[in-house]
Symmetry: C2
Subunit: 436 residues, 2 copies
C-alpha cells in the first residue's frame, strides 16, 4: 500500500478538538489501512499557543491562522472552534484555497449562505459536516447518499439531549420542569443558562440542516417555528399517559405539495412510535421517504467521543476523496430548489388542550361551540377533577380536549376565543400538539 | 449543469428489477440534479427478451449478457438477478472490464472470495451493495463510512422480517409457531418453503456481510453459528415476559480480544432494549463502537420499494464516482485482517432453561448441583406449575433457570447432564440465550 502523506490541520482544541486528536492518535493504523495515506497533523490552531496543555505537548500548535490557510501543503482543515465567527470566515477561506473542510459546527452549517458552497466550487474542495447534527449518529451522509433516491416526505427528530433528558425525568419520576432542569444542570447535561436548549433554538438549527438536505431547498433557523419545553407540566404528562402518549421535544420537517413545514415544539407521540422509546440524553431521527418508507437513526447525540467519531469518519472520506484530484461529488450542495416555508399558522396538527372551566351546567357546550365555530373538530373530551381551590374561588372543572387534524390558525382562533370567555373558562392551561 | 450521458445496464427484471426501473423513471429529474448526468438505461438483461412485459415495452431488453458485458460504453451494471450463479460470474466479468457494479445480491456478497474485489482493482470499477442487507435501511454505507473511525465491538440485528413477523404474532396474540407461520405464509410474508428464513440461513448471510464490514475481516455464512426459531413456544414467551424480556431472532457479531463471534439464534432481550420494539416485518441493526457508543438503524428490510431505494441511491453514488476516472475509494474492500471466528462452544451468553422435573423433595437441589459442577452460576430460578399430565404420568413441576454469563460449552455440558438424570428430569423443554 502506498505511503503518501496528506497534511491536515485542526482549528480549535477544546473538548471536541481534544477528542479528535486522541482518536487520531489511537487509530493511526486503521486510518492508514482505510485511506492508504499517512495523515499528518501539521498544525493545530489555538487561542494561546504558549499555554501548557498536558498530554498535548507534542502538538504543532499555532495561534496564527495564516500558518494554516496560507500553507498550500495542508489539504484538509478540520474546524472545531464552534460559534459563527471567526469559524465561518476561516472555513470559506480554506475552501477558496482548495482545502477540504470537515466541521462539527452546527451554527455555521445551519445558517450558511450560498457562498460557503460556492467557495469550494473553485477547486476540488469539499465540505463535510456529519458531526454538526446528532453527534455520533450517522445521519447527514445516510440522508445525502444512502437515501438519495427518495423523495423525502418527513424528517422528525429528537435532536437535543438536554431537553430529552429533562422530559424523560419528568415522565418517569413525576418531577416538575424546574426540578428536572436543576438536576440536569447539576449533572452537567444542561448549561447554567439553558435557554439555547430548553427554548428549542439548538434543535431549530439542527432541523434547518436536516430539512435543507431532505427537501433539497435551503431552510435557515430563522424560518423554523420554535417553541420550548418550559410550559410542560407533570399534569400534562399524566393526561398524555392516559391517552397512550409520551411527550418529546420534536424537530419536524415536512414537505407537503411542494411547500415545507419546519417546526420545533413539544409534542405528544403514541407510545408505540419508534421515537417514543428514545429516552434520556439519546438522539434519534425518524424519516419517511418514497419509496423507502420509514427509517430511523438513533444514538448518542453529543459528547466528545461520538462527535470525534463523526469528525474522524468524515476525515477518512475527505482524505479518500482528496487523494483523487478533480473529484468533488457526494458532498456537494444538494440545494437545487427554493421551496416556500409555510408560516406556522398554515401548518396542520392534532392538538391537546387543557383548561379549567366553571363547574356549571352548559359550560362544556359553550366551550365545544367555539371549536365548532372555527371548524376544529373534537376527537376526545376528558373531564378531570377540579375543585373549588381555583384562582378566583369559583368551583371549577378541569377539561382536556383533543382535536382531529386541523390548521394551526383555526386552533389559535379557538384559544383566543376561549381566553375571552371569562364567565366559562377560568384558565387555558396548556396547548400541546399531537403528532405521529 | 453539464449534460453528459452515462450508460447503465440492469441484469434481471423481477420484482426488484421492475421496482428499480420504475424509480429510475419517476426520479429522472432528481437523478439529473444529483449526479449532473443523464443516466441512460442502455440494456436490461432478461431470460426471454420476446416475452411481452406490460408497462415495460419501451425497455431495451436483451437475453444476451455479452451485449452488456462486451459493450465498453456501458459504465455501470446493476445486478438484480439474485442467487449465486450466473450472477456472480457476470459481476466479476463486469468488474474486470472496468464497469462499476451495484448489487442487491446477499448470496453473492455474503460468500464472495477475494477475486470479487480483486476484479475491480484492475480498472476504476467499484462494488456497491447497500441493498444486500436490510433492504432500504441505510446500513452498509453508514458502517463503512459514517462509522469508519470506530473500532466496532458489536453488531446485533433483526435482519429477517419473516421471523420477526412470526415472533411478534406469537408474542402479541399467544399464537403457536405453526399458527403464526401459516398466517405469515397466507399473507405472503413467508415462502411456501420457509426453511431459509425460519432456520436463520437468510439472517446468517446478512450477518456475514455486516460482520465482515464491522470487524474488517472476512466472515462467511459457513462460519456463522445458526439456530432457527422453530422451537420457540408461547410458554417460553410468557416466561420471558415475567422476566421483562421479549424474544427475537438475533444476528450477533462481536469482536472480543481480536476474535470474532458470529451467531444467529433466537434470544431474549430486555423490553427496554432499542431492538425490543422492532416488531412485525421491520428490520433494525444495533451497533456499539468506540468511541461512538450505541447506534441503531431501523426501517423496512425488504420489498420492492425499499430495495429500489437502496439500489438507486447506490447508483447515484456510483455514477458520481464514475464521473471522475481514476477514483476508487469509499467502496473498496475493507477486509484488512484475518481474525479467527470462535466456535460456538467458546462464545459466552446468559441462558434461560426450561425443564420439567419430578415433583419430589431434593429435585431442585440435584438439578442445581449440575449447574455448579460445570461452573454455570444461576441468577434466577422460577418454579412454575406442573401437574400430573406429563408424558410418563409422574407428578412433575416446571422449572425455569436463568444463568449468569457463562461459556457455551459449559452450558451444553449442563444440558447433557440434565438429560441423563432420568430419575429427576422429565424433559429439558427449551434452552434460549439471553442477550443485551
Amino acid at each position: 500500500m502506498e505511503k503518501q502523506t496528506m497534511r491536515i490541520a485542526i482549528l480549535g482544541l477544546g473538548t471536541v478538538g481534544s477528542g479528535v486528536v486522541r482518536l487520531l492518535r489511537e487509530s493511526r493504523e486503521m486510518l492508514h489501512l482505510k485511506t492508504g495515506l499517512n495523515l499528518e497533523l501539521a498544525k493545530v490552531l489555538v487561542r494561546d499557543a504558549r499555554r501548557p496543555r498536558p498530554g498535548f505537548e507534542d502538538l504543532p500548535l499555532t495561534d496564527d491562522v495564516d500558518e494554516i490557510l496560507g500553507d498550500p501543503s495542508i489539504r484538509i482543515v478540520v474546524e472545531l472552534m464552534g460559534g459563527i465567527e471567526p469559524a465561518r470566515t476561516y472555513m470559506v477561506e480554506a475552501l477558496k484555497r482548495g482545502k477540504t473542510v470537515v466541521t462539527a459546527n452546527k451554527d455555521v452549517m445551519a445558517d450558511y449562505d450560498k457562498d460557503l458552497y460556492d467557495a469550494g466550487e473553485i477547486g476540488d474542495a469539499e465540505l463535510y459536516f456529519e458531526a454538526s447534527v446528532g453527534g455520533g449518529i450517522p445521519i447527514i451522509r445516510p440522508l445525502k447518499e444512502s437515501l438519495a433516491a427518495n423523495r423525502m416526505e418527513l424528517v422528525m427528530g429528537i435532536v437535543n439531549g438536554t431537553t430529552n433528558y429533562i422530559l424523560t425525568q419528568m415522565s418517569q419520576y413525576g418531577k416538575s420542569y424546574e426540578e428536572a432542569l436543576r438536576e440536569a444542570q447539576e449533572l452537567g447535561y444542561a448549561e447554567p443558562d439553558p435557554t439555547n436548549d430548553v427554548q428549542g433554538y439548538d434543535a431549530a438549527r439542527k432541523l434547518a440542516i436536516l430539512s435543507s438536505i431532505c427537501f433539497l431547498s435551503r431552510v435557515k433557523p430563522g424560518m423554523v417555528y420554535t417553541e420550548g419545553i418550559t410550559r410542560i407540566t407533570p399534569r400534562d404528562i399524566e393526561y398524555g399517559r392516559r391517552f397512550g402518549w409520551v411527550v418529546k421535544l420534536l424537530a419536524i420537517g415536512k414537505e407537503v405539495d411542494g411547500k415545507i413545514e419546519a417546526r420545533v415544539h413539544p409534542a405528544f407521540i403514541p407510545e408505540g412510535h419508534p421515537l417514543a422509546n428514545v429516552s434520556g440524553s439519546l438522539n434519534a431521527v425518524f424519516t419517511v421517504g418514497d419509496p423507502v418508507g420509514e427509517s430511523m437513526f438513533f444514538g448518542r447525540g453529543a459528547g466528545a467521543g461520538p462527535t470525534a467519531s463523526a469528525v474522524v469518519s468524515d476525515l477518512i472520506a475527505a482524505a479518500l476523496s482528496k487523494r483523487t484530484p478533480g473529484r468533488r461529488a457526494g458532498d456537494a450542495s444538494t440545494v437545487f430548489f427554493e421551496k416556500p416555508v409555510l408560516p406556522i399558522s398554515e401548518t396542520r396538527s392534532r392538538y391537546y388542550l387543557r383548561l379549567h372551566a366553571t363547574d356549571a351546567p352548559g359550560s362544556l357546550a359553550r366551550i365545544a361551540e367555539r371549536f365548532g365555530l372555527h371548524e376544529v373538530s373534537l376527537a376526545q373530551v376528558v373531564q378531570g377533577s377540579g375543585g373549588p381551590d381555583r384562582p378566583n374561588g369559583r368551583g371549577s372543572a378541569e377539561l382536556v380536549l383533543v382535536t382531529h387534524t386541523v390548521q394551526d390558525a383555526n386552533m389559535q382562533a379557538v384559544v383566543r376565543d376561549l381566553k375571552e370567555m371569562a364567565d366559562t373558562v377560568i384558565s387555558v392551561d396548556n396547548v400541546i400538539r399531537v403528532e405521529g
